[in-house]
């Protein structure tokens, strides 16, 4: 449909303006009738003259009125058919093109649905309506406000119909939205625009979690806003949210076992939270395992609080299990379910590297540890969660670590750089490394190769050894540090007889562990002199645990205490937890998974929760085949099919950020606080926008008032014709 602009007035059907010529019809008829008349001789001229003398002025006025009315009827009809619109309607300057940037909040809270319409759909409808009413010549950009923001139309597009299609096709994400990066995207779009008059239209629910930025973020945001201010755009916020909203959401879903093996009973813990102030909110949580319905539990949730729901689950088959906990539907549906992909292993595979390997029982460095991890006296029918393989340190260099979940390095004297590199690569794959001390350990080599001033895999440098195992004169007891760390948390609250198995173990000698100042490791256990005994730290996707003393009884009596097997199992399970953790991400986070190097360049087909299939390839990163996937903006299960030569299927789950479940929102003053000095027009919802059409610059549609005017004119014409006693085709003047 061609639109043409004439004196600030646009016409959607400009060719029909030729219809305005019809307005001349009554005038032409009038003039023709003045030329075409009948003649008659007349005797009673005196009466005629008297009548004309008295009524000429009235008749002339009546005739002009009728002529005017009939002309206006055709003018209005012609104009209405041309569908005019006033270009100057709204607050933007007349006759100047406007670059209008629509910023549509696509965060999860925008999926809140009322009256069968989500806030995101409302935003799209509004944007579509404003686009439809845009003036010809205006240009449009569209930015989807997410994390990260997506510039849908960057360069100012004058093709409004195409822009409407683009907006129509937009879908909300289940993630967060970042105002700062969004405004930076807006800034880039405005920078590229040559149109001087600019207008930003934000369509958002103004959720506090999105718009209330932290202290540091606030400064950064202020800088972006001040840069925006320099471009002098007009900013309109259309608030689609509703204050005082209620919501009920699953905010967490966890499994207590770092690594799950067949036969293991794990606790699946979900948190149900009630946002808002509603009393007596109850929620029914249901568990399903690979789509099979499991147990359900109903809980009462006090206002504004969270209540845990715990399900016990034993996994009897290996492979990837999709655990899902769901609540009954409410207006915000996305946060009513959370998913967990649990890779269940037949058993955990641990490689122990013995620096003091001996064939005799309990003479080698790893004997106690191997026994603790894989007790030999247990029932052969019982599942064995950990399978241990022991090699001497000399074989470490040639060993492919990929099949293992964790590696224990026990009193290994020295490491070559290649070995350190292999361990680092292993950590990248999510593997765990547990390092024990001992008399063969070269602190200098460790510090140089493994610690490398904090850049290496070790979370602490090795200092001089403390104590003397040979003399065994003064021993050090364990300090459990109030059992705060998960490694020892199981002992928390236990009786003294139980905890004595840990606290009474005597250590004669240990390496003084010196964590760097900005070290990220956490101390799980300490000695009673305050020195760290066990430090756990994340590195890449894996975990490193550094134990200050020996794995055997050379330096400590701990291996013969009852606390040793469970704590060692816990240490190795946690060390190997990287294998599990990488399967569950927050919506919007990139997903990374490492595969053997043989899979590099293998084709990958990823099916998203919406059913869309995305193709990718494994890339070579640090000698591994790396799957890196960023399009995780929907909550649910993603299935990656890795093509040959690996030919494996791997799943992962993305869950929404709990902050998006909080319905608290900013109001006008809150928004003003965010935008500071920047003048922002604030309207709430489509109703207010309709009531205050000037809030957004757009063209004013005139054909409706014209049609109403036409109707009034037709009625007026009939009334005047009746009143003046004229037929429908008789509008003539009197001339004497």
């Amino acid at each position: 449909m061609a639109a043409r602009l004439i004196w600030g007035l646009g016409f959607a059907n400009a060719p029909l303006l030729y219809g305005l010529a019809a307005a001349a019809i009554p005038i032409v008829i009038h003039l023709l009738n003045r030329r075409k008349f009948r003649e008659t001789s007349w005797a009673a001229m005196r009466f005629l003259l008297a009548a004309i003398r008295k009524n000429q002025r009235r008749i002339r006025i009546e005739n002009w009125l009728l002529l005017l009315t009939r002309t206006m009827v055709l003018v209005f009809l012609g104009l209405a058919m041309a569908k005019p619109f006033l270009e100057s309607y709204g607050a933007v300057l007349l006759g100047r093109r406007t670059h209008r940037v629509f910023v549509i909040d696509a965060s999860m809270s925008m999926t809140y649905t009322s009256a069968d319409k989500s806030r995101f759909d409302q935003a799209k409808d509004l944007a579509g309506r404003l686009l439809k009413e845009s003036r010809s010549g205006d240009a449009v950009s569209v930015i989807l406000m997410g994390e990260p923001p997506r510039v849908v139309i960057g360069d100012p597009s004058p093709n409004l119909a195409e822009a409407r299609k683009e907006i129509e096709a937009l879908e909300p994400t289940h993630g967060r939205a970042d105002p700062r990066t969004t405004l930076e995207a807006v800034e880039r779009v405005l920078e590229a625009s040559a149109i001087p008059q600019k207008e930003l239209v934000f369509l958002s629910d103004l959720q506090s979690a999105t718009w209330r930025v932290g202290e540091t973020g606030s400064d950064e945001l202020k800088r972006v806003i001040s840069r925006l201010e320099a471009r002098r755009p007009r900013i309109v916020f259309v608030d689609l949210g509703k204050s005082g909203g209620e919501n009920r959401a699953l905010t967490t879903l966890e499994i207590d076992a770092p690594v799950v093996t067949v036969g293991m009973t794990a606790h699946i813990r979900a948190t149900v939270r009630s946002f808002g102030s509603a009393q007596g909110v109850s929620a029914r949580a249901r568990l399903s395992d690979d789509g099979r319905l499991g147990p359900e539990e109903t809980v009462e949730i006090p206002p504004g609080e969270a209540v845990p729901v715990v399900f016990r689950r034993q996994f009897s088959t290996p492979g990837e299990h999709l655990i899902e906990v769901s609540l009954d539907d409410d207006p915000l549906m996305v946060d009513n379910r959370r998913r967990l992909v649990v890779p269940v292993r037949e058993s955990l595979s641990v490689l122990l590297v013995d620096g003091h390997y001996k064939a005799e029982p309990y003479q080698a460095e790893t004997d106690y540890l191997a026994q603790a991890l894989e007790p030999s006296e247990e029932d052969p029918g019982r599942p064995r969660p950990i399978r241990v393989e022991v090699i001497s340190e000399s074989r470490l260099a040639n060993r492919d670590l990929t099949p293992y979940d964790a590696v224990g390095l026990c009193n290994v004297a020295r490491f070559a750089p290649q070995e350190a590199s292999a361990l680092d690569q292993f950590l990248r794959q999510g593997g765990g490394v547990v390092v024990f001390g001992g008399d063969q350990v070269s602190a200098e080599n460790y510090n140089q190769i493994l610690f490398d001033e904090g850049r290496g895999i070790l979370p602490a440098a090795l200092g001089p050894t403390v104590g003397d195992a040979a003399k065994k004169e003064a021993g050090f007891l364990m300090n459990a540090l109030n059992y705060r760390h998960p490694i020892v948390a199981e002992f928390g609250g236990e009786s003294d007889t139980v905890t004595a198995g840990l606290t009474q173990a005597i250590t004669w000698q240990y390496h003084k562990l010196i964590p760097p100042k900005d070290g990220k490791g956490t101390i799980a256990l300490a000695f009673d002199d305050g020195d760290p005994a066990v430090i756990e730290a994340k590195r890449h996707r894996g975990t490193v645990v550094l134990v200050a003393t020996s794995a055997d009884i050379g330096w400590t009596t701990w291996p013969i205490h009852k606390s040793y097997p469970p704590i060692m199992q816990q240490i190795f399970l946690r060390a190997a937890a990287g294998r599990l953790e990488q399967r569950n991400i927050r919506v919007g986070e990139p997903f990374d998974q490492s595969f053997p190097a043989s899979g590099v360049a293998a084709p990958v087909s990823i099916t998203t929760p919406s059913g869309k299939t995305v193709s990718a390839k494994l890339t070579a990163v640090g000698g591994l085949g790396q799957l890196h996937f960023e399009q995780t903006d929907l909550a649910g299960r993603y299935e990656a099919r890795i093509g040959p030569p690996l030919s494996v299927v791997s799943s992962f789950a993305a869950n929404p950020d709990p902050s998006e479940s909080d319905p608290a929102k900013l109001d006008r003053s809150g928004l003003a606080a965010v935008f500071g000095t920047l003048n922002v027009v604030y309207v709430t919802g489509s109703n207010e926008l309709a009531l205050d059409p000037g809030s957004v610059g757009h063209r004013g549609e005139l054909h409706r008032p014209l049609l109403e005017g036409l109707l009034i004119l037709l009625l007026l014409e009939s009334l005047l014709a009746w009143k003046f006693g004229r037929g429908p085709s008789r509008a003539r003047g009197a001339r004497t």
């Binding site: 075409k36 003649e39 009548a51 009197a734």
Partner: protein, 299 residues
């Protein structure tokens, strides 16, 4: 037997040739429709002219009638029966107007004048004729001879419509000329200053004439039925007016109504019989009007 009543329709009558025939047909048609006897009810004086019956006073027998008809009639009101009728026929140009299929006002007036002359002369009374516009164009003195009818009809028939009307002056002039008292019948559209018209008629009354005014108008002049733009060319040398008659109709009718009311009121004030006529009306209306007024006068 021929149906004479159809000749009361002026349009039918106009299709015939010869005013004498037309006059006779009007009267015959009127009489045939209204009365079993040709002359009964013709005039009050003749109604009293009943045939002699035994017992009547023979002093009242009209021997004049007996000598002509060989019948005995009572002669009680001899003086009253010597009727003198002055026919005043307006032949001004405005009388030449006719709308549609109607006859002109002049034609209509001719029919009435001829019929009256025929009727009066038939009963041995005298008829005079004046043809006028803004002045007296022809004047036939009243006479009662049968030949008078022929003369009257000839003058009526020959009178062309011309010039303007100036009834006031003409009436004053005539009032002075009519020495003998009689009945003055005015046949006109009276399209003149009403005050002057009434003043002129009043002069007749002053001379003790009885006056009957046949006010002849065309239906279009009363109804003003025009809808399309029309150029009105004034008769009697008036202006030309191009106008939308539909818009003016109401105002025009007001003016006509006011004029008619003024004329009628003026006539009533001076005891003049006023008979409004339209050229689409049957001619017996005119004759009835005349006879009704005569009847009222005699009583």
């Amino acid at each position: 037997m021929e149906n004479y009543q159809k000749y009361l329709d002026p349009r039918t009558l106009a299709s015939l040739e010869g005013l004498d025939l037309q006059a006779r047909l009007v009267v015959e048609g009127y009489v045939a429709g209204m009365h079993p006897s040709p002359y009964h009810g013709f005039s009050v004086e003749f109604a009293e002219h009943r045939e002699y019956v035994p017992g009547d006073d023979i002093r009242h027998v009209d021997w004049k009638v007996w000598s002509k008809t060989d019948k005995l009639y009572l002669k009680q009101y001899e003086e009253e029966t010597n009727l003198l009728l002055y026919l005043l026929l307006d032949v001004s140009e405005s009388m030449d107007y006719a709308s549609g299929e109607n006859v002109t006002k002049l034609q209509y007036a001719r029919f009435i004048a001829a019929a009256l002359a025929y009727m009066i002369l038939e009963q041995q009374d005298s008829v005079g004729l004046v043809v006028f516009d803004d002045a007296v164009r022809r004047y036939l003195k009243p006479a009662g001879q049968p030949s008078q009818l022929k003369e009257v009809l000839r003058v009526i028939d020959a009178a062309p419509a011309r010039e303007k009307t100036d009834m006031g002056a003409v009436f004053h002039d005539l009032a002075e000329r009519f020495k003998k008292r009689g009945v003055v019948v005015v046949l006109s559209d009276l399209l003149d200053d009403p005050a002057r018209v009434i003043a002129g008629i009043k002069h007749f009354r002053h001379r003790r004439h009885e006056v009957v005014v046949f006010h002849i108008l065309d239906p279009a002049e009363v109804d003003f039925p025009f809808r399309e733009t029309t150029l009105f060319r004034g008769l009697e040398g008036g202006a030309e007016i191009l106008t939308d008659p539909h818009a003016l109709r109401e105002a025009y009718q007001d003016e006509v109504g006011k004029f008619l009311r003024e004329i009628e009121k003026g006539c009533r004030m001076i005891d003049v019989d006023y008979v409004p006529l339209r050229t689409d009306q049957s001619l017996d209306v005119a004759l009835s009007g005349y006879l009704a007024s005569r009847s009222a006068r005699i009583r």
